[in-house]
Amino acid sequence: MLSKLNKFFSSVKLAIILFILIAAVSIVGTIIDQGDTISQYKIIYGNNVFHILYWLGFLNIYNSWYFIGLAALLILTLIVSSANRTPKIIKEIINPDLSFDTALQKKRFKAQYITLQSSKNTEELLTFAEKAFRKNFGNPIKDIRNKKDNKTGSLFYSKNSIFRISPIIAHLGALVVLTGVILSAVLGYRSYTNIKVGQTIQHSYLLKNNKPVLLPFKIKLDNYVSKYYKDGMPKAYISTLTIMKKHIGVLTKTIRVNHPLTYDGITIYQASFGHYKPTAARILVLNLKLKNKKNKKALIYATPGKIYNSKINNIKFSFNFFKKPKKNSIPFYISIIKNNKKIGPPLIFQELPYKTKKGNMPLFFTKYNNNIAFIFAGVKTYYYSGVEITKNVDTDIVWIGSAILIFALFFSFFFNQQSLWIRVTPSEPSEKDKTNKIEILAIPHKKFASFYSMIDKNADEFKKNI
């Protein structure tokens, strides 16, 4: 039973089937957007289809039980097949089976087997053979010659046999990578959050399921700027962040894409930026009567419809939009309020021939009774910086595994084992003309045409001499 399971899990066929299934599941994950919100899915697919997709696990497919299960099975086959084959291969490398006959039987389908006849003696023939094959095979690792009667003899060559461990190391590398992946999935997290300029946050949301995580410190966004090329393409997004512990800033640093900030095992990356829909107008209130400059103006962020105190003669005002704005006219106005009552017609704005310093936006102006002037100076926008917050786990293990894998791939692919036997046996004494039988058996690890033609070429050279 155990040996059957063992055989099942070390079969390359199973590995190929698992590879195909993993690829198929991955394709589904690229067709259906992963990680959207439920309401987005309901808009895209409709309620019923959404429920089916949800039930199938298609909306978070790379965390589904079957995807993880397939990966686990692949890891299992990797382990079982390596464990099964490694001792055998190491034994073969250290202590190769040099027997001509077993090799001939076992590797028949790959072997190049040539027989020749010659009347020359064994010693001579083997010397010629050594010469012919030296260029491609070097020196024989085993040389048996029966010096006394000079009748039988054989040579055994083996090239690159040590590189038979490279596939084993490649599989080991793959296992190390997968182990690293599992570790970082279990121990770390990736999350994101948006921070408004001036805001302090302590929660972030997991990328995979939007669940909040509590960070071990608070993060305040001090400032955010985007830099642009001349043609308007963004060049850099730069956020200035302060890490706060117990209300004390412990570290202030700017981050931008490719240049994150790491604190306490947690790394904060600049990911995106944006602004919330503007909710307030910037209204500059000027006291036209006052000569003294100090209290002359005040900046008020006015949310439409709300009442604000101008602090001038106890006059209150509100900022409003016209319900049905006329074409080509300014769509907002100021109402003056006294004793909770709107008085007078709406104050219509006019465009001033100046622009704001910062955004180069037009300024709009209106006044009340030559007492107060209101200047509309754009809207108040809250920029936010989108950051990704990652709990770092040592990913080094992934990189080490990758390096092992890539090196071993190189050696697996380009250094192949090749074995060669040459055996000379005298013909039966009963036969009349006394000739020697020469057998050449060449076995590559991979069936390459170039190997066989190389053997043929060497054998031809050998033939010329005998």
């Binding site: 390359v12 066929k13 590995a15 190929i16 590879f19 195909i20 993993i22 690829a23 991955s26 394709i27 994950g29 690229t30 067709i31 992963q34 790379y62 992946v181 990736r190 990328l207 090329y229 043609d231 393409m233 963004p234 060049k235 850099a236 997004y237 931008r256 894409v257 490719n258 994150p260 790394t267 990356y269 600049q270 990911a271 995106s272 989108g386 990704e388 917050i389 990652t390 990913t395 992934v398 990189w399 990758s402 894998l405 890539i406 791939l409 190189f410 692919f413 380009f414 991979k446 069936k447 390459f448 045409a449 170039s450 066989y452």
Partner: protein
Amino acid sequence: MIHINASILDGSFYFTISFLMIILSFLGYFLYIFTENKLFSMASFIIVITAFALQTFAFIIRWRYSYHIGIDLPPLTDLYDSLVFFAYVILLGFILLKLFYNFDSLGFIMTFIAMASMAFATISPLATSAIEPSIPALRSYWLLYHIISLFLAYGAFAASFGIAILFLIKYKQIHNPKKSKNINQAANKANPLKFLSILYYPFILLYRQFIKLSPPIETLDEAIYKVVVFGFLFLSIGIVIGAAWADNAWGGYWSWDPKETWSLITWITYAIFIHARLTKGWNEKKMAWIAVIGFAVVIFCYLGVDLIIPGLHSYATPGSTPIL
């Protein structure tokens, strides 16, 4: 409106000239296939080498120009550059293969792929040769190594596809001689006056000539394997560099972005190829088929994902808002 990409300043003019040269070499290989006259294939190969040299020159011009206008990175990020680079590695791959194996019939397929890529780059409205600054995430030297390894892999997979096509044609003839005889007969019988036979006659002729001019099937089999494993090695390197870069830039080495996922699928396809050799009953023919399918996966990973599924790595939407 169709706009031909050609400007001396940014180097695209030279690419356009090299495109014309590739068309010429393709025609040369076409003539070679039908006439079997070695002169044509030799001339074509010389043109291919010249086109390759011209493209090298054009890349240098383009790189210098991009530094000149203040973009401190080699221009490899948009669709135009990437298509041109794709054609470039395909020519390189073909030149190397030709030196090792002396495949003339492969020239027909390889120059065709390079030509298609150059045509897309030169004529398609999606591909513009203007060098545009890239989004902040791409402003990194990791990018250079990431793209170069992946394109070496793509080029190798394109070559293995070409060889696998030759293999499959040859295999069919060897293992199914009756059928190919029928095709021969059909070719002989084909009446040029009949409209249908005019349509398929050239293909039958092409098929026959391929059988005649291709190297032995064992050589093709070996070449497919060697080219694929070369590609697999560089695909692995490219994916690892991309992952290390992503880890460095935004905190996760893998985020199942469609392009990433498709590169994994490509990797898996060729991992199956490598292991198929070890499974009883999966002969060389199956491996050649995997090489053909693998290239379709590569093309989807390279272009299909961008044109169909937008994501991090989009080539097709120049200047699109950065979605990181």
